[in-house]
Symmetry: D2
Subunit: 359 residues, 4 copies
């Protein structure tokens, strides 16, 4: 096979591959092993739309992580994974209980409502984490036709605030939800970071404690694109294939999604990438803690650091490194580390922060 | 940069890259130049969700094909491109006139209805092509609230039956539709094959003759994945970015979609791939015409050959080469050529056909 | 209780109650017995949203017509009854097979697609009636995710063309559909006219022959407003109450819907009204048959007469009596009789027709 | 015309018209003048689906209340009025800011999300009333495709908690929303009670202060059924007729909806009914205030009284009079008065409350 790095292409490089920031883990590119996997899966013909050998093999890889009943349905992106999952777990009259800060509520452009017709029953949380008590604020009225019926609890691991549920916390949620006849969905856009943080297999805080359906995230973990709905409890869903297709999440050349997930999950690439990103966040947090006037806002348990600092300092710092305000009025910012963040990146950033704080 | 073909990956090859069939152009893998382009775009950080340098540059590439008002919105797949386009061109109360055989009507799992709430007003056609007269069977009742309002005509180029509209035929449709206040969408999942067949630039049968919005197809033309809604008439759409997002078609690492389209369109890869596939279809058709008892059904104008032959012959042949029945009751089959189909593939297939017909 | 005809109201009469036409059976007002029933149900408090005594009693009335398993869910209008029914009978990924001329396809403003996300798989029919053979044109591909899944066959009795299925014809459809795992819905907007035409109880061509869910029509039969989804096979639906509410078809003061249906169905008002309308259509057809140059198009089996006559004659006639073109290009018209059509109305119309034809 | 009270009907009376409670204003029946209006509009033929004389005349009646640009679109029920309004005021990508306690959020079975695909951006409020400051918690991000676009602010007058906005409060909301390019919808299910409470014409707190679209409520004000979307600012909506139809809210015999609204609004029936209900609520509140241990929770400004009392007292009292818990855990109840509530009803209820409190 031709070496892709030497093959001539009419495309041109338009960016500087040495520049990285702290804006988001999906500002990063892809891990070289992912490109290698794409090359490996190329050539010849494979049945389209998921009947290929790579998607079949992916099932075995998923079984090694989530046990023999797990079934993976590769999709394009995280919003797709979430909205396909939630449709498969609900009826036309269903609703989903989630944290007010959940990605499905604040970052998916209304896709759950618009595509799925789903009402989200939200609960404010201090740290992005639901609890049985918080769930109970919305868990009622199943027989009341005037209320969209709560059928699913959706949680995010790690949360949008960089916090990580313990397995016991998730078990309590699942037990509570199941006791009410509801199912539990886990948005695992950053599940690898959570596993690395807890230092346990992914199943420990999913199947083992009662999660029914998982949105497995590959993109933020180093893939080019590609997530999967992983059905852990087959009784929790219906017609996954039909829902994936009608939700426009069915890749024709699916082998190229599946082989990326295989490249992540067959060995330890998923964990290497996640551990590294988490370590960089710890290094960053340590550096920041040494800077007077900057407050770290949430426990740094994964690859995100939330901080509060003077607004004008953030604005000056943003001219040197990309990152986002989280709550601009409050002066809160979010700094994300990725699989490709280097120690030098972190150290340079901390230095810059010190310089700007000192001005 | 590391050479992807030598980088170690935990993924394994699960298929024989020497085996090809005639089932579909999306059974093919990707062109090596596409892999090279992905490698080129990798490394460093780029703004996610479409604010990257590659997506910006793609606009210039698209301008070279479709003129300075064209704007490309990369999406994941063809169904996504179509349903985002049609939503952007219609109101909540809108309907779309299309051929009964249109992909949006028969092959998208009801996504236009389910995701877009769109009613499709279909017309039977002999060859997959609409005409002003055929459109008129559904083009009425704009003021009648009891009828979903026809706001768009959608045509496919080349059609699902492998036929190709002439620029004049499309102009007649556009003039007719515009005269009724309707817009025109072109599903260009195989637009490159049509351009190669007509031997004209793509704009000749799109902008120039009145097409408002185009679903540009990259996947069947050799990409890994990636299509784009190309807005040719900015007045024909609204809120494209919002609709792409809420339709779950917004890629986070969009640079990797855009660079594939650049690799196809910056030079002539798109045309080389399409011409080759078309030539293989011509070679196949010539070979088939020499076989008694096999009837070619539609003009072979792009990369598809439709044929009628004894059902049991098809079944035996399918054990040697993959392909699909088109109308099993009638004995009709579809044979597709792709960018990677070789002359040897075609010759071997024709030989096998002769052998099976002779049994 | 005050006599409504003597109670002072600030509303004024704005129309001439002596003028009737042949445009539609819902141009008619309501039967006086319906007003009497409304007065009867008035006064005092009744639980809202369907927990009232009238809705409860309606179940017993429905049982007398459709047997003890029937359950009625009153709704506002026919489109509501159909779309609630079809949603209750399908999943998110379901589709409905129906005649191209079906009301759900041509007269509901796209509500099945827009509100229910339902794809309609239509079949052209000569007389508005489906058959097992016609159904088979769309009954396939249940496992194919690229196709919306056919889960329901919907027929209309009597049809939109004034024709009436025999019980055996419906039985054949139901057996065929059930054999494929599909359910059968009957749009009975004019079910009373069909029963009067066949001279059999309504159950003879519904439950008895396999209909699962019925849209029972009260409005065209003399009610002010009010239809009901009548579930004949409880296993064919789910969550009717929730679907009725979220489809905005739940009346708060439901007693006033239910008592109208009781007034129609507790005795023979439904049948008197329907028989009368059918008889007027027969009288009209007989009169028309005596007029040279006017062709009756379909069997006159209920309360509609379809005819073909010179376009200019229709236009002159429309200045004297209201009615609609059915297919203006072909010169086809539809003349509807209602519960309040008189013999004099018919005779005057036939006379006018003769006069205009003679000009 | 026959006297409806003497016309024989097969319907039977199933309830005691002397029993009333405090559960809801839609537990009441209809005002006798409404029945008189229905009788008046009966007889003869009128064009269906809104082209009748009564619907035309209704426009003039509405003009007398809301000025010459107002246009009324009669619909079946309040959920229908709200969801049709909000669809007409938004695009496919739009969202609606409302109070967490809004009827559209908590009492419509998810119809806004399911039928309209609308995301509701909710804000907790102490008394059911939004303010510019509260709106600002959700009014941002119009250019951010990751967020459903806030296009409408929806308020309820009087609120679900029985409180009434002053005209100035609504003006401040409208000015603020308009300043952000958003439109303002008023859910006027009990608008008559608000007008009676404020003792001003309805226009004073609608058109005059900037409301764009009004859901006008007739049912709770004494109609059998019937509400109307009243478009006050024609630029704020599009395609009302199409949206009403596809939302299944188009009555075929619309004259019977319109004449009810005429009966309410042509004279002062709307105001008599509302004033009476409000006065009964004041009488109730006064009686309750004299009972030790019962706390009135919100200002009693319309026809609702919210109170807190021992749970077991409520349960005993519910055996004598129907009413609902509002927040069962807190012991909060809601007592509603209607147009037909009598002074004796109130006095008997207060007496019973005293008796039960004393036990």
């Amino acid at each position: 096979m031709a070496d892709p790095t030497t093959v001539r292409t009419d495309a041109r490089r338009h960016h500087d591959p040495q520049i990285r920031g702290f804006a988001s883990d999906n500002y990063a590119g892809t891990h070289p092993e992912i490109l290698a996997a794409l090359a490996l899966a190329n050539g010849g013909h494979q049945i389209a739309y998921g009947e290929d050998e790579y998607t079949e093999h992916l099932q075995r890889v998923m079984h090694s992580h989530f046990g023999p009943t797990a079934e993976a349905f590769p999709v394009f992106n995280g919003t797709g994974a979430n909205v396909v999952s939630l449709q498969a777990m609900t009826d036309r009259w269903g609703a989903v209980i989630c944290a007010e800060s959940a990605h499905i509520n604040v970052d998916e452009g209304g896709a759950p409502e618009r595509v799925g017709g789903l009402k989200l029953l939200t609960v404010p949380t201090p740290d992005g984490k639901l609890t049985p008590e918080l769930i109970d604020r919305q868990a009622y009225g199943w027989d009341d036709e005037h209320r969209a019926m709560p059928q699913v609890v959706s949680i995010t691991q790690n949360t949008e605030l960089g916090t990580v549920y313990t397995p016991d916390e998730i078990r309590a949620i699942c037990d509570h939800a199941h006791g009410h006849g509801m199912k539990v969905h886990l948005d695992g856009a950053r599940i690898a970071n959570a596993a690395a943080s807890l230092d346990v297999p992914m199943r420990t805080f999913t199947n083992t404690v009662g999660i029914d359906v998982l949105s497995f995230g590959g993109t933020k973990n180093g893939a080019i694109f590609g997530e999967a709905v992983v059905v852990l409890n087959p009784d929790a869903v219906r017609a996954m294939k039909h829902l994936r297709k009608l939700s426009m999440q069915l890749a024709s050349k699916m082998r190229f999604v599946s082989v990326q997930l295989e490249a992540l999950l067959a060995g330890d690439l998923w964990l290497r990438n996640a551990r590294h990103a988490n370590e960089m966040a710890q290094r960053l947090a340590e550096g920041v803690r040494a800077v007077d006037g900057v407050e770290i806002l949430h426990p740094v348990q994964a690859n995100a650091v939330f901080a509060r600092l003077p607004h004008e300092v953030s604005e000056r710092l943003q001219k040197r490194f990309r990152f986002y305000f989280w709550d601009e009025a409050a002066g809160d910012v979010r700094w994300m580390c990725a699989f490709d963040t280097t120690e030098d990146d972190v150290d340079a950033f901390v230095l810059a922060l010190k310089e700007e704080m000192a001005k």
